[in-house]
């Protein structure tokens, strides 16, 4: 049940950050038009970025661990 609550916290954080970044990248003032294609592609890019950062972070932790730094 704890894990479930944490999963909700994580999903919410992901939704909030992706919304904020894709709103910024896809919408132009005066904000009259939706831009659904852009939002879909932005979300794909956001998820790929999440995966890439995630992998690079774990690599870094493993390196530090192997070198006895942590």
């Amino acid at each position: 049940q704890i894990s479930e609550e944490l999963a909700i916290v994580n999903a919410t954080e992901l939704v909030n950050k992706a919304t904020e970044n894709c709103f910024e990248l896809c919408m132009n003032k005066p904000y009259t038009d939706k831009n659904e294609l852009c939002v879909d592609q932005c979300l794909k890019k956001y998820m790929q970025s999440w995966n890439s950062i995630s992998k690079a972070y774990l690599d870094r932790i493993q390196q530090a661990s192997a070198a006895g730094e942590i």
Binding site: V15, A18, F23, M27, P30, Y31, K34, V39, D40
Partner: protein
């Protein structure tokens, strides 16, 4: 039971209030670029704010749907 209903309603009201604070902050930064002399919103600024909110909500809904489809 009344008490837990009361807490639930207060809780969802509070979430809406905090969302309104966030939306106002985001869209004020986007739409209000100078203060002017009389402290009233121009109709153009007001339209910008409402469009900003609606496009932000559109983006949010589409992101949620997009993530659900990925699962």
């Amino acid at each position: 039971k009344d008490m837990s209903n009361f807490i639930e309603i207060e809780n969802s009201k509070q979430k809406m209030q905090m969302s309104i604070h966030q939306f106002t902050n985001t869209c004020f930064k986007q739409c209000i670029t100078h203060v002017g002399n009389d402290g009233t919103l121009s109709s153009q600024e007001d339209l910008c704010l409402r469009n900003c909110l609606n496009r932000f909500l559109d983006t949010n809904i589409q992101i949620v749907k997009g993530l659900q489809n990925m699962k």
